[in-house]
């Protein structure tokens, strides 16, 4: 199959908690904004809609995509919803990629959203924890930050890292989010006089001094619970060239992989032992990230050991500062011997060789689950088509001359992970 698949355009709404706009109005806003970038695009161009939404618990509405689809006037058009935990957005993009790659459709809309502000944050944590194995994990008082902390602590020890090393990503992503007026950090902290972080450039000390969530993670090491929506238009190359010249990017690689639901079940799993050697990934590494990353690198012709040099800009799933750090390793950007230096030399900061989460990431922009992976793809696209300076408040958070981008979306305790390589055409 030689057909190239592209992202012709896309946009995200602001993310916030709380925020007062319905899922269908967020979809309409995203499409209107996409039309600003691709004036040629109308709803009549759509062949297929892929909806990306994680939890119907938040809206207490089954098949909520049906509300949105007919609101947009799309009756008759085929539609599906994809749900795959935190990797819902990435999985929906993957579904749209397959749909175009197959030759069946030329113009596929992907809209994702979540309305987590419909419940309190502690109730929201319990809802999300229903994606862990409820029989054995949620009942024991576990919620995702706790499972991630248990994995992060072992990773920290075995890779000779410190709490401060994790805090680098927490500080970085929030400070970049201060240059993005759609980001939750910008809306609820940076421009909010009631926030302790009002007009504040964060430091490592701010992260270290924030309250304990689950050792070694503190409040600022964790992502945000949000309401928000995001839209991407996945098309054939012919469609993109004709209707979105100057705006589209190519999906040069796409990988999707899976791991155990319970993190404790991956210390000796036959499938991984066979693929990567006995004992991998243990409870420290994200094997599904490594695998899906390798599939995407192979498709895009990127050598694993040169990945950090070849990727010019990345948006990765920083649900926690620790998971961002673990992902550096899973994507072959660093290894056990050099991860400490990789972090301390700020290789993923704007001045480093692989600027990561300059749109703010999940810790800065927010994490309305179904929208997140799509937001990450759109934010990566903004550098590859040079629209970042007008999408962000300044060109401070614009990665110039970027040709290759990486988008990562991640679910469960590393249970489903997708990676995409985007290229400037």
């Amino acid at each position: 199959m030689s057909r190239k698949v592209c992202i012709a355009g896309g946009n995200a709404t602001p993310f916030d908690y709380p925020m007062h706009i319905t899922p269908e109005a967020m979809a309409a806003n995203c499409i209107v904004e996409t039309q600003k970038d691709i004036p040629d695009f109308t709803l009549r161009d759509l062949d297929f809609m892929v909806y990306s939404h994680f939890s119907v618990h938040f809206g207490k509405q089954l098949c909520p995509e049906w509300v949105i689809h007919d609101h947009l006037g799309l009756v008759g058009l085929p539609h599906v919803r994809i749900e795959n935990g935190g990797n819902t957005g990435g999985s929906a993009l993957y579904g749209a990629f397959l749909a175009v790659k197959s030759g069946l459709f030329d113009c596929v809309g992907v809209y994702g959203w979540e309305t987590m502000d419909n419940v309190t944050q502690s109730q929201g944590s319990e809802f999300i924890a229903l994606a862990s194995d409820t029989r054995y994990e949620a009942l024991a008082g576990g919620i995702y930050p706790i499972y991630y902390a248990a994995m992060a602590y072992k990773f920290m020890k075995e890779n000779n890292l410190t709490e401060e090393d994790f805090a680098m990503a927490a500080m970085k992503n929030r400070n970049y989010a201060a240059d993005n007026e759609k980001s939750q950090f910008y809306r609820s902290d940076y421009t909010n006089p009631d926030s302790p972080y009002y007009k504040k450039t964060l430091t490592i000390d701010d992260v270290m001094e924030s309250r304990l969530i689950s050792y070694p993670l503190k409040r600022l090491d964790c992502c945000l619970m949000s309401r928000g929506g995001a839209f991407a238009l996945v098309t054939s190359e012919e469609w993109a060239k004709k209707h979105a010249p100057g705006n589209y990017v190519e999906i040069a690689g796409a990988g999707l992989s899976s791991c155990t639901i319970r993190a404790g079940d991956r210390i000796d799993f036959p499938g991984w032992n066979e693929m990567y050697g006995k004992g991998y990934p243990d409870m420290t590494e994200f094997a599904a990230c490594r695998r899906s990353g390798e599939v995407a690198y192979d498709m895009a012709g990127i050598e694993y050991k040169k990945a950090a040099k070849e990727v010019d800009v990345a948006e990765i799933h920083d649900a926690f500062s620790s998971s961002e750090t673990q992902i550096y390793k899973a994507l072959h950007w660093a290894n056990t011997d050099n991860i400490r230096e990789f972090v301390r030399e700020k290789r993923t900061f704007l001045d480093g060789d692989v600027p990561t989460n300059v749109g703010g990431g999940l810790m800065g922009y927010g994490h309305p689950v179904g929208a997140t992976g799509i937001m990450s793809a759109v934010e990566t696209m903004y550098h590859l088509n040079d629209t970042a300076p007008k999408k962000h408040l300044s060109s401070k958070t614009y990665v110039k001359d970027a040709n290759t981008g990486l988008v990562n979306s991640h679910a469960g305790t590393g249970t489903s992970i997708s990676n995409f390589i985007l290229r400037r055409p």
Binding site: Y136, A140, I143, L212, Y215, K218, D265, I267, D268
Partner: protein
């Protein structure tokens, strides 16, 4: 001929529930279904919001894993073992995970109620139903040499004293309070285990725990 890897499904009228305890722990919890509780309006921005409460009783059937639930009520740990490759599971898997074993049905085996801490964390925040227990240690423990680790609370210890690789034992709730779920038991340090001396990292953990301890004291 029935393939012996198939799980048996009882007939439609075969399950009689002769040992019924369905309301044993209910207290005054009522099943109310859906209901609207009130509304808010903001005049300046013309925003309207309603308050919805929803509550539903579920019937979780353990079915072919029922031995686990009954074991918990009886104070016994039942895991499974693949007769082909010998991999041992807790939580139990009723078909082997090894693709070469081709869904071999595993055998139930009684496990020793002891294990080793594989990794752990000190929780300072949790879901609504667990807030009053904070701060607590959640440990992933390899029970009786299994090929998997199970998560549960590690008690009987100052949170900052937990260690990787420490030996633990299982401690049961009183029999009358057991519900057939993982909350029927927790881990505690094995008899004779002593924590190592305080060090900088433990001091840091202790310092992080103090505001959590104070916060929990203020809860009703």
């Amino acid at each position: 001929m029935t393939d012996k890897r198939m799980h048996k499904i009882p007939g439609h009228n075969d399950v009689k529930w002769d040992d019924k305890n369905s309301d044993k722990f209910r207290g005054d919890v009522k099943e109310t279904g859906i209901g609207f509780m009130g509304y808010d309006y903001d005049t300046a921005t013309e925003q309207f919001k309603v308050f919805l409460h929803y509550d539903q009783l579920y019937y979780w059937k353990y079915a072919e894993v029922s031995k686990l639930g009954k074991g918990f009520v009886d104070g016994e740990f039942w895991g499974t073992k693949c007769p082909k490759c010998g991999d041992k599971f807790f939580p139990p898997r009723v078909n082997c995970w090894n693709l070469d074993c081709n869904l071999e049905k595993s055998d139930w085996i009684k496990l020793k109620e002891e294990g080793i801490v594989h990794t752990f964390t000190i929780a300072g925040w949790s879901g609504k139903s667990s807030l009053k227990r904070l701060p607590f240690v959640l440990a992933y423990v390899i029970v009786d040499g299994c090929n998997t680790a199970i998560a549960n609370e590690l008690r009987g210890i100052d949170p900052w004293d937990a260690e990787f690789g420490m030996p633990v034992k299982v401690v049961w709730k009183p029999k009358d309070e057991r519900q057939g779920t993982v909350t029927d038991w927790h881990f505690e340090p094995a008899d004779g285990w002593k924590p190592g001396p305080m060090n900088a990292e433990k001091e840091r953990m202790k310092e992080l725990c103090q505001p959590v301890i104070e916060w929990v004291k203020t809860m009703k």
